[in-house]
Symmetry: C4
């Protein structure tokens, strides 16, 4: 019995949600779950189809992306996860997908504008799109640098990773996170839907205005802070 059994099972369950939610084709995605006290995280093995994935195949690595337990090679995006866990101390799970609409916005290199309350219920800013990396970063330790591209984007824009739990990496695809893997998966599905609605909104009305500030604030406060009244509390 592995001492990492709990995060391996959580990672397995969360990974299996991605095909159910229609967020991945073949192996185009991965979820990880962190164990802060042990300084490790559990992540999907690279290139294994979801229908064949077993909890035992989940790989445990440390924050340098070195394998701690598991006989498979971890996801090729492991270093990106490692950088995010190292810098953002309160996140518990990370999801990477190539979900269709979110990826299209990333390829278009545009932030997703906040057009309505579906978006505002989850974050009060546009969904940020980090610019494509410099040639130097790409030629370096690519997946490692992808993590920094995200961190730098949040720093420059003064965004909080606890308020904004999703990002697009320009030319690439989305990453989402949360207090645990289930929340990170939830955010991945929300992002895909918000991305789809935003494109449709612009197609219906190319001059569609962003949501006005009073409405953004109102919807956010329904879920956050001392006056929150959405959900059963938790």
């Amino acid at each position: 019995m592995s001492r990492y059994q709990s995060i391996k099972e959580q990672a397995y369950e969360a990974n299996m949600q991605l095909p159910k939610l229609g967020l991945v084709l073949f192996t185009f995605g991965n979820v990880s779950v962190v164990d802060r006290s042990a300084g490790v995280f559990a992540i999907k093995p690279s290139g294994v189809p979801y229908e064949q994935l077993k909890p035992d195949q989940i790989v445990v690595v440390d924050f340098d992306a070195k394998i701690v337990e598991g006989s498979n090679r971890p996801s090729s995006d492991t270093k990106t996860h490692a950088v995010l866990y190292r810098h953002w101390e309160h996140i518990g799970g990370i999801v990477h997908t190539h979900s269709t609409y979110a990826t299209a916005w990333a390829q278009a290199q545009r932030d997703i504008p906040i057009f309505g309350t579906t978006h505002a219920d989850h974050l009060t800013t546009d969904v940020p799109c980090a610019p494509p990396m410099s040639d130097e970063m790409i030629r370096g330790d690519y997946e490692h640098e992808t993590g920094f591209q995200i961190i730098n984007c949040f720093r420059e824009r003064k965004l909080s990773c606890e308020e904004v739990e999703m990002v697009l990496v320009g030319n690439h695809a989305p990453f989402t996170w949360g207090r645990d893997a289930a929340k990170a998966v939830y955010n991945a599905a929300v992002l895909e839907e918000v991305a789809r609605m935003a494109l449709l909104t612009e197609q219906i009305n190319p001059q569609a205005p962003r949501l006005k500030e009073t409405l953004i604030k109102k919807h956010f406060e329904r879920k956050h802070g001392p006056g929150a009244y959405y959900g059963q509390g938790c």
Copy 2:
């Protein structure tokens, strides 16, 4: 055995139709059923996923949105439902969703033009889009005011809630209703399909004309009034 057992079960059944019809992601929707004689309505609890929902969790509230029966917090949209039931005396059920295409039209802040008979079989006007609320209304009792935003839109446009059983709330999402919850759910699905077809119509022909008046009238009369001949009577 609750004296509200019947409306609780109807509300449960109607809520469970939303994911089957592809109208909700996660918890983004709710259905209510009114009992006019008791002056209460049954509504989905807030933030409970559909796959975990049980009839016992349905909350019964009065027209001031005060809980009459149930240990869960009711949907965060409860006050909007309450306002509609109070003002529109003949409706029996209300549905709120964030279905993709209808929400995109709401975000685009446009009425859905009546382009064909699929639309005209259900209503003979464009689907109205109520404007976003004033800042004053938003800062006030938000969900309560959302109800008035809908009521005011119908008053100003001289629309009947029995002829037009659907509305978009600008920047937000659709509400539909009907003589009972099943009809309200039916209308939510019809609205989503009409919203999708209307966008496609404009993409195929940006100059597509609205349906001409003779055809609107003809299709509506097939289902309504003394000469109706569609369906098995009921």
Copy 3:
């Protein structure tokens, strides 16, 4: 045992294909099957949901749309079917749907251009869109006139109902037909896919050219005429 048992069962089976193929929402469609020797056809009853439909509910009517057998009211589109059977002597089944993309083209009042071999494998012309009816026709016997609108469109354009087994009725929706109901249902699904591909083609390249004549001819001859070599013969 009804003497019309065979066409009633064929009509039932063909109607049940429509929801399986994703061509109908709720009751928005119907299929009929003709018995030429008896001068009648079997058609879906009006307003009955597919999940509740039973073979016994299928209604048998003559070419004046008068009920010959059955206790339900026949589809509200019955007179349109009757006109087509009366004028086109070799068709054996008719389908009417409000399938999303085909209906959008009908609402846009445009023929569907022949852009590729998927289309050319089935018909060598654009899919015709009959114009909306004159006010006089609409105020008259509406569904009866819908049939004539289709017949007239084919006459004016010199189209053969055996070569072109589908039509859009402007502002309304598609009708398809074939030697039997199964072929008519097949054509309804082909039309929906061709309609979808044609919109996408124009979105990818607004100057996309129609298929050139040599290619149209080649693909059609693969399935028709003395040199046909597609399929197992039949």
Copy 4:
């Protein structure tokens, strides 16, 4: 027991993946598997619906498309497969579909631009669209010439069939291939997704730039060559 049992079963299994992956409507597609040592390939029979297909119905033909085993007529596209097998000595399986988005790009007669890493993980060039055939080629041995149209396109553009495992045939539809039939089917699904994302990318940002060269190179090398580190090795 046929001496071709193995390729017949592989062809059957691969063909049955097409409807599961949503890549075919009715009979609009086919997969073949080659046996190089025997100089034959196994291919779907023409016009047989997938739900009725049995391994025994798979037809075995030689590289002149002459039947070696089987009582059914082979796919009408058999000669195209034969030409590709004859010219490209290292491919083991071929897929032809009319999948919706890839076919729309073929009808639009445009290469699919490389916009992101989803594309770059699989090929480092735009997806080539071979031009429609000359009238002379169409009037000749059509399916045979379709093969040459593909071969010529790759020659003129100096593309390698081992690096680029997919092509669009202008006005027609896609072909994909790979070291075996499973890889060819995988490529058909990847192509459809890449085609869909590319259209969405252009809709979100009509000026979306192609992926820059450093990023193309980086992603390709993750899967290819001596420094490859994606997947479990194989």
